[in-house]
Symmetry: none
């Protein structure tokens, strides 16, 4: 029973700042290093050399889907991550709940950055139960709003729609809400722009009557009286990973966007206690779940967010600590990993010296039965380029996994 | 203030002939080797493994433009290099001034390889002031001729034109001038062929009256009485490098074709005393200019032609000497390069044993802040493949530079 466990350290790659060791190099991680020593190492360009990936495009690539073909704006992946079932052709926008003045000029793009779950629910009811039926009646477009975190949410449109419409979010305080305009001459673009403008207008009109705004006024919080949309994307038609690579795959992730990408490519998505998508996550439960899921899947993908968060914060020690925490949690399973394939890599570098995603390659290791053993015995940016895998790309990972699993179709005879 | 200096040794790559050292390996070049030792090395396929590049296609690739998409025949790049301002859609041909007999049969494709600058000017006047107005009046096509070196020149057509027409140059002595024919059924192809035939015919008719031909007869030189066109190409619409990669870039080059390619991708083009595009060039002024230009640009590209010329001449010692001359000129600036990125590579190999461009990979080094340091301490074909960059392609260079500069757009979120 061949299986693959893929551990992805989000933003785990780094640079040797001032010539010093990277967090991955410095981390005490005997288990990851044992896997590196026993297997093949290399460096990975998540998309292509030098390209600065987002987490969404990099995950698409690592899951075996060319992001230049399948990435259709963040909206769709954000909506999937929020648990909305998207069908091919659905259009999704990222939204902010915001505060505008009487002239529709934006006063606060995040409504004071304070939106409680109860307030979010009331907004959902307003959009989905009051506004959506009107839009459906007038334009034949189905509208679904879902709140995600704080002021953030997604607005999905289904029907004769297109993602080729401009944002209503002016991205600036002091500017009025923008009119959505179709970006091409299509009928769908026109309808979508009209639907989006209708939602925007009705929302600001009806928000006055919301009970939450009376309460917010008393607390001195700015009212929630606008919804700003941006980043329209449509849900592409994606051949599921099981069909494309012959691999039954599950993802364990706490981050909505990653869950969304995994779901988009047809993976079953799980979460585990302790896996909240933060730098203080604990990986014991997630790894146990991964082991349990091996009974029903060929490949388990486990997403570790903390390295990226620490990178964005410029926190070297925290980044190292996240790796060490994962490594400790791995201890318990090292025996069980024998006879399995383990792949460890990153979706991009988030160097603590840069605090943003960069285009650097990241280390990768492949451990498992009959894998060529090279001399690399330490998993890091400073060592893995000496390994037998040489330099590969994100899109190469799934074919390699599928081949080791003996599940890929032969191309030709 | 992050900056990139890119030094390109044209045709600098070579082969270990008979197992011996290559000119780059043998050259005494302590400065380039110091950069190699402190940075990452690798090998580069300017276009793709084994592909034999021209200098134009390789430079397009290294500037980040897929030559399979943007290379549209040498004519356009030759014209740009000659200083003609081309607009997207303009068509350009490479031309020879030649000698034909009374039946339009080519007697000498280069008019005795002797065309003085004064003669060239008179030919320019004939085409641009006498012939061009006629063509414009009859076909609505604007014609511009510019002489480049000796018998060579470029003929540009602007208007309802296409580059899909056949050559008038028979490429052989003893053959008559060919009629240009449209290579597709387009109206533009027909018009262009007609315009080209009209220029060809009028030129041979009017050349008799040229004062220079009387003088040439006296000197025993064959008359200039034909213009032969070949290699029609059109000026593609190219998104400028500043927009595509976020990089303000300048090129310092003495070679017309390279200047043309650099200009085509939107680089500002400079030259410097001593940089004439020959194997005896001196690089002191060019390097000083590069340093000065850093104030206003993110990336400075410096083109070194001598290595290619020496390769074409099969002159091993000269090729080595050109590298040593560049290295000596670098000495003065090594301190100032600290904190900057330096990339050194070639657009292709021109092995002295082959005397022509080959498809071999070429060495590349990337030096700069937080670049992974590998063990390679000598910049050459025989050593760089051991480096941390592994094997990359011409098209990877600009994304890597842009990522190090922190100027690239993130792809996704």
């Amino acid at each position: 029973m061949r299986r693959v466990i893929m551990l992805l350290l989000d933003g785990g790659g780094d640079r040797p700042s001032g010539g010093g060791p990277t967090p991955l190099y410095a981390a005490h991680k005997p288990n990851l290093d044992r896997l590196a020593a026993a297997g093949s190492c290399g460096i990975l360009d998540p998309i292509a050399p030098g390209i600065r990936p987002g987490s969404d495009t990099a995950h698409l690539s690592i899951f075996g889907y060319d992001p230049y073909r399948y990435y259709t704006g963040r909206g769709a992946f954000e909506a999937l991550g929020a648990g909305i079932e998207l069908r091919p052709g659905d259009v999704a926008f990222r939204t902010n709940l915001a505060t505008v003045d009487e002239n529709n000029v934006v006063v606060d793009r995040r409504a004071g950055r304070h939106v409680s779950p109860e307030e979010a629910s009331e907004v959902e009811r307003l959009v989905n139960e009051v506004i959506a039926p009107t839009v459906m009646g007038k334009l034949g477009v189905e509208v679904v709003y879902k709140s995600t975190v704080e002021h953030r949410g997604v607005l999905v449109m289904r029907g004769p729609v297109s993602h080729r419409v401009s944002n209503t979010d002016p991205h600036k305080v002091g500017e009025p809400i923008l009119e959505a305009r179709p970006l091409d001459g299509s009928r769908e673009g026109n309808i979508t722009a009209e639907a989006l403008n209708m939602v925007t207008r009705l929302f600001s009109e009806r928000a006055r009557e919301l009970g939450i705004n009376a309460a917010r006024r008393e607390k001195g919080l700015p009212p929630i009286n606008a919804i700003l949309a941006r980043g329209g994307g449509y849900m592409p038609s994606i051949e599921p990973i099981t069909r494309r690579y012959g691999v039954r795959a599950a993802a364990i992730a706490g981050v909505a966007l990653i869950r969304g990408v995994a779901r988009a490519v047809g993976m079953d998505v799980y979460t585990a206690p302790g896996l909240n998508g933060t730098a203080s996550d604990e990986y014991a439960h997630a790894l146990r779940l991964a082991m349990d899921l091996l009974a029903g899947y060929d490949l388990i993908f486990l997403h570790v967010k903390g390295t990226d968060s620490a990178g964005h914060d410029g926190n070297y020690d925290l980044k190292r600590t996240v790796v060490e925490r994962l490594d400790r949690a791995l201890s318990e399973y090292m025996d069980r990993l024998e006879g399995m394939y383990v792949m460890v890599t990153s979706d991009h570098a988030t160097p603590v010296s840069v605090r943003e995603h960069t285009g650097d390659p990241v280390p990768i290791l492949v451990y498992g039965p009959d894998v060529v053993r090279d001399e690399v015995d330490r998993f890091s940016e400073l060592t893995c380029w000496r390994g037998a895998l040489m330099r590969i790309r994100g899109m190469d990972i799934m074919p390699i996994a599928s081949s080791y699993l003996g599940l890929s179709e032969k191309f030709g005879e």
